[in-house]
Amino acid sequence: MVGAKGSPLQLILCNVFHVDFPTGNIKLIDADRLAKHRLVKHAIPLALGDSYQNYRIVGTIPAYAELYKAELASGDWWKNEMEVTIGAAVAQHLKLKAGDTFASAHGLSDGGHAHEAHPFVVKGVLKPTHTVLDNLILTQVASIWMVHEHTDEEAPVARPDSTTASVLVPSVMATDSTKEITSLLIKYRNPIAAIQLPRYINSQTNMQAASPSFEAARLFSILGVGIEAMTGFAYVLIFISALSIFIALYNSLKERRYDLAIMRSMGASRAKLVWATQLEGVWLTLWGSMLGIALGHAVLYLFTQWITESQTAGINSMTFYNEELYLLIGSVLLGMVCSLIPSLQAYRTDIHKVLAGN
């Protein structure tokens, strides 16, 4: 990812994950020059700056959607200026469909100045990709420029031919020094480029290069301490819960020695009482963990309802993981282990001693 100088993490967060704000703009001329570099295999331009109802409008080329293996659910790809193809989540939440029009707002969050003079037309809707693409509105780079051109709308624009056109945005002259984009997504031609190219960009140009995987890994290493602490805390909680279940079962057993003896006197076999105490432990832990999982999802649901950013970040309260199944299996085992000693006590109940001692 190549963009204006600044924080590499910000560059990645903004242009790959679409959460942070841009580091600034880069000149299309500079980006063009880089796109033609011999170590570059593909280059995809990104132009950010506008949004509609908090969903970002990204000026780019169809190759960007191909990166995410996006397919059309309905309508068509964007072809001309002011045409957009929208992600599945955008279509769902804003209830937009092919043929609808909307006016974008300046900036990447709500409350920006609305560009009412240049409405966008929805040409198509994408199938869900379960990536950030679901939350994006894709259009041409030129659409972004058009929205922001206030002064020379009437001025004749020089149309370039195939030899003079920009590599990245063929609709403008390669020599047009007024045009800017936000960033450039680059695929290396070979592994050597992975070493040479970032060094070249960072030292020889006024742009910076950042690796998405490296920056993401760096982000997690920064947050890692917090995540590890949370995980550790969770384990402590699980341990304490297990201990308190055990203590509760053990204590209740002391109180119920008499009950168990009476059950024996009524003809219950030892096996029946062991089964009953085991069932009690498993029942408690199983329902406990099911309730816990339900509560967890409920809290996440409220979280997604209250904090709109979590929706665009792709957090879904109805996503269930296989690990939650392990949690249930684990709780059954825990119940069995915790009721092991109570079961043993139930097995060894001396009816006479308990009943006579009372």
């Binding site: 009476i262 024996r264 003809g267 006479h352 009372n358």
Partner: protein, 208 residues
């Protein structure tokens, strides 16, 4: 019909308790009287198969208790005995009906709802069937305990100090209930007690 022959029991570091030979006819009603420590509860538990026999023989309806292993004894108890203890120990979370159905469940017998109605009617508790145990008075709870003891139609009902915590009025009422319920179910009734008030109701006495 219960017959015992030269039964004695020795607790660790205590002297041997020798019990008289007994012959209790079917549907007979007996009081087991004696001071504390005379071995009332020991004999009762031996008769009820709750305590393992050390010496002598006990024969209940033709079955020698010493010949049964632990699980056979469990089954035998469930089908032949009904026990009533000083504290009734019903399951507070369950209803009267559910408590009564525990008896056939634990004994491994079929749960018979008509039998529940029948026994509750005998004890004048038919309208309390759906009530929770904690909603009952102490006297009502004791009736439920008696109902539970007779539900499986046992041939022997064994009661250990069922009246010691009751005042005179309730004592005679419980005694009357026990004898009538034992009669209605044609069961042998053995009550261990140091409560001499019961002698008015039950004339047969085994003195330890």
């Amino acid at each position: 019909m219960i017959t015992t022959k030269s039964v004695s029991y020795t607790y660790p570091s205590a002297s041997e308790i020798v019990f008289p030979d007994l012959s209790i006819p079917a549907a007979g009603q007996f009081l087991l009287l004696g001071e504390s420590g005379s071995g009332k509860t020991t004999l009762l538990h031996l008769l009820g198969g709750l305590l393992k026999l050390q010496r002598g023989t006990i024969d209940v309806n033709g079955t020698a208790l010493s010949g049964l292993n632990e699980s056979q004894l469990d089954r035998f108890r469930g089908r032949n005995y009904g026990f009533i203890f000083q504290r009734n120990h019903l399951l507070a979370a369950l209803s009267v009906e559910q408590n009564l159905l525990m008896a056939p469940y634990l004994a491994g017998l079929k749960q018979d709802h008509h039998r529940v109605d029948e026994v509750l009617t005998q004890l004048g508790m038919a309208d309390q069937k759906k009530k929770r145990i904690r909603e009952l008075s102490l006297g009502q709870a004791q009736r439920v305990a008696i109902a539970r003891a007779v539900l499986n139609k046992p041939s022997v009902i064994i009661a250990d100090e069922p009246t010691s915590a009751l005042d005179d009025k309730n004592c005679s009422r419980v005694a009357a209930l026990l004898t009538s319920v034992a009669e209605q179910n044609r069961a042998t009734l053995i009550i261990a007690t140091h409560d001499h008030r019961l002698k008015d109701t039950i004339k047969n006495v085994i003195q330890l």
